[in-house]
């Protein structure tokens, strides 16, 4: 079984400041890793994913995350946030092998103010 810990339930930042949303996971097997974003009153959308290869993955809107196997982490970063980045962010894992399901963290609300 796997689990995901998102250490911050809420992260307030000012516009144009850098941000890091933390995610740690626990699993007895190798995993795939994901970040999903949920804007107000909407469903979840995939932001980025790590399946294999380069440990640094990027999204089209400037977010990046780095897979660190030794620290079992997959932290999400953006060097300069916009008001429109205000949303809830969920980290998720899926075991490699077995049935393909996603286990989510509890979410981090990113609040960007002017």
């Amino acid at each position: 079984a796997q689990s995901v810990t998102q250490l911050d339930s809420q992260v307030p930042v000012f516009e144009e400041a850098p941000v890091e949303l933390r995610c740690n996971y626990s699993s007895s097997v190798s995993v795939y890793l994901f970040w999903y974003v949920q804007y107000p009153n909407q469903g979840l959308q995939l932001l980025l994913k790590y399946l294999s290869g380069s440990t640094l993955v990027e999204s089209i809107n400037g977010f990046e995350a780095e897979f660190n196997k030794s620290q079992t982490s997959f932290h999400l970063r953006k060097p300069s946030v916009h008001i429109s980045d205000t949303a809830e962010y969920f980290c998720a894992v899926s075991d490699i092998g077995g049935y393909s399901t996603l286990t989510f963290g509890k979410g981090t609300m990113l609040l960007v103010s002017p």
Binding site: F34, G43, K49, F90, Y99, S100, T101, L102, K106
Partner: protein
């Protein structure tokens, strides 16, 4: 684009009622899921289905059942709704039931209130 459609955005039901939440996906995905989303608890897996007529319990199946008679449709059933089942319900689908997990696509969610 993959589309996952949930039949209702908002539902209000009475305690003890039998409730059906319907979900349809249009991309021939093998896997379908029902999650429940509550503030501070994130998303928790209720049930998933890896094939027609097949189902597996997730982390919180108590009080729920599911049905998958056709590949594109996955229904969540609350046999006797209770107030502690008031929540946001999210349906999702993914291409493969095994092997590389590349992405899950989510519906808009159904906000269920049980009074």
């Amino acid at each position: 684009d993959v589309k996952v459609t949930q039949s209702s955005r908002y539902l209000v039901k009475r305690t003890g009622e039998k409730v059906f939440l319907e979900c349809v996906q249009d991309m021939d995905h093998e896997n379908m899921f029902w999650y429940r989303q509550d503030p501070g608890l994130g998303l928790r897996l209720i049930y998933f289905s890896y094939d027609v007529k097949m189902k597996e319990k997730g982390d919180i199946p108590e009080g729920y059942s599911v049905s998958r008679e056709k590949k594109e449709r996955f229904s969540l059933i609350l046999e006797s709704a209770s107030t502690n089942q008031t929540s946001m319900y999210l349906c999702a689908s993914s291409l493969y039931s095994r092997g590389p997990f590349t992405e899950a696509f989510f519906g808009q969610g159904t906000r269920l209130t049980v009074v």
